[in-house]
Subunit: 164 residues, 2 copies
Amino acid sequence: MEDGTSKSLGYCPDTDADYDVLQWDTREDCEVRQILDRVADKWSLLVIALLDRRSLRFTELRRKVDGISQRMLTRTLRHLERDGLVRRTVHPTVPPRVDYELTPLGATLHDTIRALVTWTETHQNEIAAARAAYDVRTADEQRQAEQETERREQIARSVSAGRP
Amino acid sequence: MEDGTSKSLGYCPDTDADYDVLQWDTREDCEVRQILDRVADKWSLLVIALLDRRSLRFTELRRKVDGISQRMLTRTLRHLERDGLVRRTVHPTVPPRVDYELTPLGATLHDTIRALVTWTETHQNEIAAARAAYDVRTADEQRQAEQETERREQIARSVSAGRP
DNA sequence: CGGAATCCTGCCTGATACTG
DNA sequence: CAGTATCAGGCAGGATTCCG
């Protein structure tokens, strides 16, 4: 209800004849895209990665996922619950206590997501190096571009000075 | 330069005494989080998933990634290039031609992301079922809540009518 | 404690126009 | 073709408040 199910039937002119490479339905209204957009959400990813077998309470999650607002945590958890990835258990105590844990389905996704986290941990140095290199390159190009612009402006000035 | 490069080296003051479960640095300024936030972006994910060995031109990508604005495609590609995941090749022809392809590093990430896409394809039926079930449940609860509210309002009305 | 409701800001997006 | 630039608008997301 409310969100990602039926949408603008975004018809997709899509591909024509390049089936040489594996492809999948990339249309926006495609089921896989819908799910992927949810799963590829940074908060969802973190929550699932943190729910490693052990169930966590709302506030525990809030503390562990640094930077998340309670609004987004609530939304994220509702989405994950709706998708059958997380089970929400309310204990009718006072003060209230709500536990979140992965469902079996969520656990299978957890494995995949852990792989992503592991990849990140493994390659973070390479990425940092790539970023540094890129930034240097870009800074150089910008300096050159500025010089180029200045040169042209000088030409333009001398021209307009020639015939006022 | 500017964003997430050299920072808090992975040690995590974080938790106090719950090391029972595997944990990693979840702080917002953590290197891994920075990368993860980028990788977990829906557009990045799609682009990497589509760049399967074969290089693609800008417009090819634009057509394949249904729903992306050219602004976001440009941004996404720049980010991926900066992170060393995608190589951008400009052919000085006319009209211009720019090819994008995965770097070796990007290819390793591609494997992980394909796993995510495959997971989605495999479990989309289960998720659809979970969503349907959830929506039914929620609709029921809402109907009950509305009835409850109405009942209380009636009581309130009869009370205020009793002593005006 | 675990939310729901409200307000408000900022970014994404879409459209358009202009370069090279 | 492959962008960059700019502007309007809409909605995601943060901060705050209040309730069971």
